[in-house]
């Protein structure tokens, strides 16, 4: 077991087991709860792939990674959820563009709950009947998101930014696309992506790492797995330009919602570089558009935004974007004003005082997140699959300078890579 201690005092215990499973343990002394995630590096964008066993690429129906996540909770003996309740744990799962994660949190019976989690995810059980039944449930989940203006404005934005990249497809797919899912396609995805060699088990909370590592090894040691498949995800041919500069959808909203975004010109990126870009540009955007920026206060005074106005920076292995926006009575004017702020910063640079203030704030906010085992477990895994280390955040925030941020900023905010998404009634 390898141990790493990070500057904020967190110690991380890691080991790769003989079957390929990577185990990451982060003890939080004094905490009653333990939060555990069991995650595969497989999300909605992994839709065209092959393994060493097959010559040709397979294209699977949109939404299948998420569908698979739902179906894992059914075992031959029935529903898995009550088993977690029996041991006083609360279980859940989620699917993103690039990962699927099964999780529980508990305050007692950690050993039993760990076994439950490992066992149900490593024991798929799909039948024609239980696959059909799930289509009604997921159909309603899709409709729920279709009614949600925040979800809609975001998904439409991704459709506008990308030509080819499957990040432009909704994670849950559509009612039509999931109608093509069968138990056979589910098994195919499962066999490809749920090998322990493609997965990470992470625990954060009040436990002893040696003991917990022992339990996990015991559990995995009793099972046999096929050799680790070599997964070949078909590369995307994404041009640097946007698919559409502006998109609008109609929905019952009190006032329009408007997101303005720039896509990253770099398609492939992973490792420490990715975290560094995210933090440098995140601080830059906070300096320009955060609550303590002049622009934010001016836009409020001009009646163009409300307190929901925010920014977000996302960088994954094969895609990345920066988003700014929120509710506005006048999407076109808001877009112009945001562009004006960006243009000024491109010309004059972001000021050192503003940058420093926001850098320190980011550091303080990061410290706060370390009080939440759930946040750490989710964030850590997300960065780990992208080759980066969440707990390096404080170190990197200590290192980045306004010059670096300005360099990154100038390379990033190119008008040809901008798209605007609007939801209005």
């Amino acid at each position: 077991m390898e141990t790493n201690t990070f500057p904020m005092g967190e110690s991380v215990y890691q080991e790769r087991l003989p079957n390929g499973l990577q185990v990451v343990l982060l003890p939080k002394p004094g905490f009653a709860q333990t939060f555990v995630t069991f995650s595969t590096h497989y999300g909605s964008i992994d839709r065209v792939f092959r393994t060493s066993a097959s010559k040709d690429y397979t294209t699977v129906p949109d939404g299948i990674a998420h569908f698979l996540e739902h179906k894992m909770f059914e075992s031959e003996a029935g529903d898995v959820f009550p088993e977690f309740s029996r041991y006083g744990a609360s279980a859940n799962a989620f699917t993103t563009f690039d990962l699927t994660s099964y999780l529980f949190s508990c305050t007692d019976n950690l050993h039993e709950n760990l076994d439950l989690l490992l066992n149900f995810v490593q024991d798929p059980y799909f039948t024609d009947a239980n696959v059909e039944k799930e289509k009604g449930i997921i159909g309603q989940e899709i409709q729920m998101y279709n009614d949600n203006p925040d979800a809609r404005v975001f998904y439409e934005l991704l459709k506008a930014l990308y030509h080819e990249h499957p990040v432009r497809i909704e994670i849950a797919g559509t009612v039509e696309s999931i109608s093509h899912i069968t138990k056979e396609t589910l098994y195919e995805c499962y066999d490809t992506f749920y090998h322990p060699g493609n997965m990470v088990l992470m625990a954060v909370g009040g436990f002893d790492p040696e003991t917990v590592m022992g339990w996990i090894k015991d559990n995995q040691g009793k099972k046999t797995f096929k050799p680790i498949p070599v997964i070949d995800r078909k590369a995307f041919s994404e041009p640097p330009t946007v698919y559409a500069p502006e998109v609008t959808v109609n929905l019952a909203v009190s006032q329009p919602k408007c997101l303005i975004a720039w896509k990253d010109a770099v398609n492939e990126m992973s490792g420490p570089e990715l975290l560094r870009r995210e933090l440098a540009l995140g601080v830059a955007l906070d300096a320009l558009f955060g609550r303590s920026s002049s622009a934010y206060q001016e836009l409020i005074d001009e009646g163009l935004i409300d307190q929901g106005f925010s920014w977000e920076f996302e960088r994954a292995e094969t895609y990345g974007f920066a988003v700014i926006g929120g509710n506005t009575p006048d999407p076109r004017r808001l877009t112009d004003r945001v562009q004006q702020v960006i243009d000024e910063a491109l010309q004059n640079g972001i000021g050192e005082a503003e940058f420093e203030r926001c850098r320190k704030k980011a550091l303080g906010r990061f410290l706060t997140t370390l009080d939440s085992p759930g946040y750490i477990a989710r964030g850590y895994i997300s960065y780990l699959f992208r080759g980066a280390q969440l707990l390096d955040t404080s170190t990197v925030l200590g290192e980045i300078t306004v010059d670096e941020a300005n360099r990154e900023f100038r390379a990033y905010f190119d008008p040809s890579r901008r798209a605007v998404s609007i939801v209005r009634s």
Binding site: Q143, V253, S254, Q307, R365
Partner: protein, 436 residues
Amino acid sequence: MGEFLALQRGRLHVHILPTSQFRTRHLSLKLARPLTREHVTPTAIIPYLWPDGTSRLPSPLEFARYCDEQFGAAVRTNSGKRGPLQLAEVYASIPEESRSDEAKGVFENIVDLCLELVTDPMHDDHGFNPEFVKREKSLHQKRIASLTDDKIAYAMEQCTLHVCRGLPEGLPRLGYEEDIEGLTPQSLWTTYEQFLAESEVYLYVVGDIKQPDDVGQRLLDQFEKHLPEFRGSGEKTLIQPIPARKRNNGDPDFIVEREKVQQGKLNLGFKTGVSYGDEDYPALLVANGILGGFPHSKLFRNVREKASLAYYASSRLDGLSGLVAIQTGIEPGVMEQAREIILEQVEAMRKGDVTAEELTLTQGALTNQYKQVMDQPVSSLEIHFSGTLCGIDRDVETLMNNMNRVTVDDVVRVSDKLVLDTVYFLSSQEGETHGN
């Protein structure tokens, strides 16, 4: 994690939970006064005017920059509601200064700032700054209007407000759009002064506080000095549950609202007459859990897993007013089928169709929820605050013990107290929806 230290002087209540578990200190300041139709809207705006500036930091920008400089302390204000009370709240999370040299003195600074926000907001001889008032009136109008954007939350709120019609609990948390126009810097200042003089004031601190007694006394001194003399009724207003009398005509109200939605949102509101302080509260907590609190619950199993009608189907208990609210999202055409399945589940509980397994699973799941609260500083203080408002000094440990002693018979008995008051359905614009 230990227990809250409670100190009181008149209408001032200070609660401190000393713990070295976290890297962040949390502070919450809450002012509470009974909700009235007359005051609800202007009072709801007050906490949003506070961060626009104080005498010392006389603009929103100066306020925001000052917070950032406190090692990124997050300070936000909120207009709240608990049962029949209206609240103005300030929340602050502050990096733990004992863990970082850069954060030294930050806690004191933020305590001072919170006190300033509440007792010394930026104003002139005539009241609040007219520019800020203009800005906040416009933002508040949008804040209220945007409540319709999240259809799930909107449907739940409409159902609950209808159940509480005619009562202070039935007034909307943010007030009414039509009241906003007539508000002036002077009228808002009058509302503010009244509110400050008539409120009970609660201050919560969770964090690495070394001498909580001394710190608590100091906070009491500091607040006493800056708050105006109390002019409230003096009567200790403790929250009581909304009574659950059987309806005269037996039938619940059925409300259909139509909107441009793809999914219908069905909500059922029940009164129970049982709240926090009641002997039956632990049993009601368990009953609500068996009905719809978890993935092993009746609603999830029957509406979602068996009938495949919905993605979410759950019930929620408001411990202050004693209301149980069920919510689900369905195809508009299957409303009657869904309502029938839901009511069958409630009926099953009344008839004693509750297994020992359902009971055990629910008690296990609730115990886990409460134990996790000990790791969540803000939830800890909110639970304690709810208890305080009901006059209950019961720690989480005791509640868990009582909850784990609940029997199937208790669950059946308390389920019989559920009186269905309102069925609310937010439906699509096409098609017909039949009533009863």
